[in-house]
Subunit: 234 residues, 2 copies
Amino acid sequence: MLASLTSGNHAAVLDRAGFAAAHDATPLPQIASHVLRVARDTELYAEGSPSHHVYQVLAGAVRTCKLLGDGRRQIGFFALPGDWIGLDAATRHLYAAEAVKTTVLLCFSRRELDALARAEPTAAQLVQSVLRQGLAAAERRILMFGRKTAMERMASFLADMDARLADGRGCFTLPMARGDIADYLGLTAETVSRMLSELRRRRAIALEGTQSIRILDRAWLEGLSGEETPRYSA
Amino acid sequence: MLASLTSGNHAAVLDRAGFAAAHDATPLPQIASHVLRVARDTELYAEGSPSHHVYQVLAGAVRTCKLLGDGRRQIGFFALPGDWIGLDAATRHLYAAEAVKTTVLLCFSRRELDALARAEPTAAQLVQSVLRQGLAAAERRILMFGRKTAMERMASFLADMDARLADGRGCFTLPMARGDIADYLGLTAETVSRMLSELRRRRAIALEGTQSIRILDRAWLEGLSGEETPRYSA
DNA sequence: CGCATAGTTGAATTCCCTCAACTTGAGTGG
DNA sequence: CCACTCAAGTTGAGGGAATTCAACTATGCG
């Protein structure tokens, strides 16, 4: 069942021993799943490959990405613990999925999930909800790409990461490198570096090493990220 | 029922007379709907407003858009005949929706649609499929925004419009103005105009008036749009 | 400790935006 | 039907934000 998944990459399938504990994390305990541990830069599935499995991240981080002919790369999104991957594909994956660092995932059979969704309205609603959230995230990103400057993109990214992985005191460790952030934001690694330096100079953030970030001035950062047009307030 | 929808804009609600014919166009004949005719620039719903209705375009065109504080505008997508609008919102609309020109729509109650989706697996699957297609479109756009040049964006846009509204001989009439295209592609109206002129000079397209376009060299156009990395070919 | 990779900083370039002038075209009323 | 008007579109010149290219500095791993 996992042959197609493991072939061509270095994914290691854990046995069902370490399965029970992790299993509680998913709201779909009815159908079979495997826990998967994959190393940094391992490809979960290729761009354009048929969609046989769906994953939920338990630990680590995954990037979805797409390449243009000349090597330009775009990262679709970063999946962090709790996030789903591969649910968007109807039959084939538009983007590839790769582990940003050592990552643990739950792997579901797409066919079983579809069957469950047909039989169980609750499961169908879960799928619908995940899709809707993905669409909302994509739409926010479209605004960001179309109309935001490099600094505004950086601020939006940091605000997002702060919301998704901060410890409560505004501290978090980025799982991904500068180049990944650049390809996610539609910038270059140099520009990302410049923006981070600029933010540090203005005391909006503090950097410890290259991956650890502390948000010092969240209000200013969110102001920078541009969002603010509640024409509707009912 | 339609009070909340018509208040604050100039939408005119047609009576149920012209309803039967249009009704056949939707795959959801089980639940109540109204046919709506709205004038150019009419707002269907505002950015951030609660999501009470869902629409399907029968004729005309709708743009979804979002404004930043300083007036920068981003268009999310253009809904053409057959397309759904407002299904992406969980509770509130992220983007506003406005008619690009005189437009006829089918209007469904969100509550009824949700109820139907809960009761009828077929309806749930339709919703899921619309969401998935929307997500796929958004992901293509993310790639476009992140990594494509002005000319590549223009070529992608023309290829998309060609696929969605051409008459078979590569002729179609754009429903939207240059400024709308610009805000859709994350460019300025001037740049859109320059790219179109450039494409005409290179004999890739022919312009008749400002809205009518004929694709002359589809292959070259699609090459320009950048997509071409089938790493996977099974 | 030394090497390789990742990150930072600077200088020059490029692509697109801004601003401005001009042209086209659609709609209106004489 | 034509002239008028105003919005929309086109084209050019100049400027700015982000990229590219290159050098240098950290960082982490054997």
